[in-house]
Symmetry: C2
Subunit: 319 residues, 2 copies
Amino acid sequence: MKIVALAGGVGGAKLAQGLALALAPEDLTVIVNTGDDFELFGLRISPDLDTVCYTLAGLANKHTGWGLKDETWQVLTHLKELGAPDWFKLGDRDLATHLQRTRLIREGMRLSQVTKNLCERWGVIQPVLPMTDSEVATKLVTADGTWLDFQEYFVKQACSPQIVDIRFKGVSSAMPAHGVLDALEQADAVIICPSNPYLSILPILSIPGMDAGLIQKNIIAVSPIISGQAVKGPLAKMIHDLTGQPADATFAAAFYRERFDLAGYVMDDQDRSLVNSVRAWGIICETCDTMMPGEVDRLRVARKALSLVESCSTRTENL
Amino acid sequence: MKIVALAGGVGGAKLAQGLALALAPEDLTVIVNTGDDFELFGLRISPDLDTVCYTLAGLANKHTGWGLKDETWQVLTHLKELGAPDWFKLGDRDLATHLQRTRLIREGMRLSQVTKNLCERWGVIQPVLPMTDSEVATKLVTADGTWLDFQEYFVKQACSPQIVDIRFKGVSSAMPAHGVLDALEQADAVIICPSNPYLSILPILSIPGMDAGLIQKNIIAVSPIISGQAVKGPLAKMIHDLTGQPADATFAAAFYRERFDLAGYVMDDQDRSLVNSVRAWGIICETCDTMMPGEVDRLRVARKALSLVESCSTRTENL
């Protein structure tokens, strides 16, 4: 059973690791959001790609949720001495990633090739693909009409501005990265990780050609909302800003079914009372403990999502 | 007495520090070669500017002759793990300099402003100016017609290729950096540090407008050759490659007097026998111990050069 996972940063990385533990390496491809990519100090930084790769490599820092374990901070210390901005926490090992990525891109490599090159060094055996090799930049439109860069909103302003819209600059001329459409074509199902639908998954879905790649696939999503809250990040606040409604665990199911035929949905056990609302939309819905602090948890949620893929396949065959 | 010093890397930095110890801060301006500047990992690196500034700041590594004291190497270690080139030894603190410089230039600052900004952080109180805010790149033409980048020749190939010519790419459209011509206009004398005349001083002299700035100045040079050898670097070999002659301590005097009216020349005590050859050209010439390992030595050579400035001024007044 070949699976494509769509992932953003931390939550996506956790489920991607669970899927990597559950599946043979050749049966999993992870497609990662690059709408958060940005330049800092002239370096090309791909936060979600790095988080997914570091996690799959077993190099991620489990305490912070971002960056590398056993990281050192020599350069950042000296940058502060020079009065440089330090809002983005550049560790020394992480910086080596950004330097090498920038060098390879300047030498003419596509981001997908660079990612493959880095993954080989890190020992990541599953294909990890950026959603696109083009430059697409997520912008957040605030109530006063300002377009904020993603990092400006997410890190510097700590998600405090009220958001009225989201745009993906450059998306209309972007193409799926080398390998993305092939992976989708060969996939038996697509699993959407519990990443922020607005900021992590919508950019992927917005790349021209991606919708065609998703047609006739069994698509399973895992809820990024547990009991009205996002595990991490600004999703609950964004849902309220953008819909006027409080966040609940059915949100991502409703969000995705507007865009394609969502076949299955996994929510947390705490949201068991909402299962019937989702099933009423014709979606197979089950619950489990979806918190994924450790590898055992990640494998559990991956297996639950994969069991829904099985159920969907049975459903399709019975139709 | 206001002095402008022209400097390249290590030798230039040492005499610049000697002059900084001998003169009031407002009486010294150091103009530094940027022909060696290059990009690595997308970062803007100015090796000679950094060497001069680190030395004036008391931050230079006295053992290596380049880079910073108490340097750490975390990022370089991780870059090697990623298979990145490691021929240019990027220390963590040095890297912070390159990151901040790259950031400020990308924000629209001129290199001269960036250098001022960094010097303020490092506590360097003498003005240090790049020769130009434009991009000028030193290229070495080898016997087979190849144009080598400076760093390719100097670091990667360890100065081994035979050189037949030197070019400064971009120089014809370059201008002296902001502040350079003012400093020259206000200067009573110009001291040319014991840097490589071909690689460090000729790029400075080649910037359009620089020759006019040097007219009617008393110009004193310190020999970069001691007893037929360069203290550091490929100068002796280059002299042989380019002139067919062995290097001797009169070389820089001959080199500069072809280009302007050299008033004074300091050689090492070991080259005392050559003093009369230089004096025969109408140049005031004296010797001292020109090796400058420590601050006392740097001050000694600076004072010798300044004493020649005094002698030249007397000569001029007597004409």
